[in-house]
């Protein structure tokens, strides 16, 4: 047996720490991306639900909905597609939460934390991988939408900006996912987060205008961050919009930028605290 030079980099300067924090995060990102490449079916599983939803709403329920004022079913695809994009981003926090719970449950976090690596890389690497994952999700959904006949009415730059708004929402929800992932006990419990995700995604303007909902529910739906992102990208895509006089609907673009910032301001410290709690 040959002997390998096992001398690791043991420097403990701020520079070395920063360098390794980035390098370790990237190693984790590569690991996560390897998973996706090895198991492309992951995308099918995670996108299956939104795709079925869009087919159902566009072809089953949509024909009964008049969202454009031009008769039932008219322009419903243009209305629903942006909602579908936003909903997929919104549901994404479950993927993050599930993954965090899994690395906790499988003992990876303990192993990592007992190693000389930057332990925060477990979380930051996960976050970066999730954003890349979300971008691929979005690309697949847009491709499907284009095949079904959806078109953005906005310029190319504005359309790309809309996609950035979607990823901005997803980024904020990563911290929600990390926090919840540390909070729940095991992956079974993480699976139950769907009970939270479903109303969060659906009580919104994603598939139906809040105007059509009972008063209080309409208010909740209109103020849902998912609705703000949906409203903003509908404006950009020049999709049919039904506004019902909620103040926030008239400021969708600002809200689509502000909401994720608010979510991050709350959940980033919570996620950091949950991670530090592992020391107890």
């Amino acid at each position: 047996m040959t002997t390998v030079d096992l001398r690791p980099d043991t420097r403990d300067t701020p520079g070395a720490r920063a360098k390794w924090a980035v390098a370790d995060s990237w190693t984790i990102v590569l690991q996560e991306l390897t998973h996706l490449v090895r198991q492309p079916s992951t995308f099918a599983w995670q996108l299956g639900f939104p795709i079925v939803m869009v087919l159902m709403f566009v072809y089953v329920f949509g024909s009964a909905m008049d969202v454009s004022g031009q008769g039932a079913g008219e322009g419903y695809m243009e209305f629903a597609m942006p909602g579908l994009f936003a909903m997929t981003m919104a549901f994404g926090f479950m993927n993050t939460a599930f993954a965090v719970t899994q690395i906790k449950e499988k003992g990876f976090i303990d192993r990592f934390r007992s190693m000389p690596m930057a332990s925060s890389a477990v979380v930051t690497g996960r976050g970066v991988a999730d954003i890349i994952h979300a971008a691929v999700d979005l690309a697949i959904l847009v491709a499907i939408a284009l095949i079904l006949g959806w078109r953005s009415g906005g310029s190319l730059v504005a359309t790309l900006g809309a996609f950035l708004l979607l990823l901005w929402l997803r980024l904020a929800l990563i911290f929600v996912g990390i926090y919840l992932g540390f909070l729940v006990k095991n992956t079974e419990a993480a699976g139950n987060l769907f009970a939270v995700a479903f109303p969060f995604g659906m009580i919104s303007s994603v598939f139906a205008p809040p105007e059509l909902m009972p008063g209080w529910l309409g208010t909740v739906a209109a103020w849902n961050p998912v609705s703000s992102t949906t409203g903003a990208i509908r404006e950009i895509f020049e999709s049919p919009e039904v506004r019902s006089g909620y103040w926030i609907e008239d400021h969708a673009l600002a809200a689509a930028i502000a909401w994720p910032a608010v979510i991050m301001a709350i959940f980033l410290p919570l996620a950091v605290r949950a991670f530090k709690r592992l020391n107890n």
Partner: protein, 332 residues
């Protein structure tokens, strides 16, 4: 790796470790002193504080008071120095099922901050050392429990750590898997790695450990060798099984002479056995053997019985290692 300058002769040193969770004392003044090169077993029932001790010593959690030193470095003050010198295999197998066994080791190598080339070479070495070369490019998903645990062990051996922590290394494994893991641990110990393991399997402690620390309610109960532990509890007993029923009275007479307590002579007429407490078992055994030979009495069996660790544990702590009965016990 270079020669380490250590402040103590112990690989693991803990003094008066205390750790309290809201309502219970997980550790209540635990002391540990594990010399280099030893396999030390922390034995105790569920909730005794074994895992808490390992989590503190492997830098995972903070504690309330007391001092801990691992591989010559203070755990509280220089956790990073400690992390360069330890390996941890926790209760759950930290194996990535979506990538090959080799890829798992290379990944951990990278995270241990050795170069990719060194990580690859080290992976090959470890695969060979843990007899996983044949399945190196297979997903661990298809592995047996014992193989997964071996890969897990290999991952914590990347930097050839001086101290290896194993938290219940064989819990949930079938007997074959347990044997595989035992062999791997014995191999590591033979190579000079200090091993601190926790277990609630008495046979495991007996088989693997040079020394056993029995803990209960977060406190040391006793620290001894497996044999010493057994000797400490109750006396050694001489047991003679007669070959013919008519020899039983003669044998009983001889045994009574050797007994340290004549009121504790157990004669079993159906098994044809006599069982008495003795002191200095080895001497008694040779004397009895020559007495039997001179009297021309043949016996079916003759031996010194020491109490099992199970009995020892019951006597030391007042309860057995498994309180709830949810963990299967494998007999020695």
């Amino acid at each position: 790796m270079g020669v380490l300058v250590t402040t103590s002769d112990y690989a693991v040193l803990a003094e008066g470790l205390r750790k309290r969770y809201r309502d219970n004392h997980a550790l209540d003044g635990l002391d540990l002193a594990v010399p280099y090169g030893m396999v030390y077993g922390l034995l105790g029932p569920n909730g005794a504080g074994k895992t808490t001790a390992v989590r503190i010593l492997s830098t995972l959690i903070t504690w309330d008071s007391g001092r801990a030193e691992v591989a010559g470095h203070d755990v509280a003050r220089s956790p990073r120095q400690v992390r360069h010198r330890i390996g941890l295999t926790g209760q759950h197998t930290a194996v990535d099922d979506k990538i090959s066994a080799r890829h798992n080791l290379v990944l951990f190598g990278r995270l241990f901050h050795i170069s990719t080339a060194a990580a690859r070479k080290r992976a090959d070495e470890l695969l060979e050392q843990f007899s996983l070369t044949d399945v190196a490019d297979t997903s661990p998903k298809k592995f047996s429990g014992g193989m997964r645990r071996r890969l897990d062990l290999a991952s914590s051996m990347i930097l050839a750590p001086r101290v290896l922590f194993l938290d219940e290394p064989t819990t949930g494994l079938d007997p074959a898997g347990r044997r595989e893991v035992w062999q791997a641990v014995q191999h590591l110990a033979a190579g000079g790695t200090t091993v601190l393991l926790t277990t609630h399997y008495l046979d495991e402690a007996d088989k693997l450990c040079d020394r056993i620390g029995v803990i209960d309610h977060g406190r040391n109960v006793v620290d001894d060798t497996p044999d010493g532990l057994k000797r400490r509890i109750g006396k050694e007993r001489l047991e003679i099984v007669a070959a013919e029923p008519e020899d039983l009275p003669v044998i009983t007479g001889l045994a009574e002479c050797a007994a340290t307590d004549s009121s504790d002579v157990v004669v079993d007429d159906t098994e044809l056995s006599v069982n008495v407490p003795v002191a200095d078992g080895a001497r008694v055994l040779t004397e009895i053997a020559s007495d039997l030979r001179s009297k021309g009495v043949a016996v079916a069996d003759l031996g010194i019985r020491r109490p099992t660790l199970d009995e020892a544990f019951l006597q030391l702590t007042g309860h057995t290692t498994t309180q709830s009965g949810d963990n299967e016990e494998v007999s020695v």
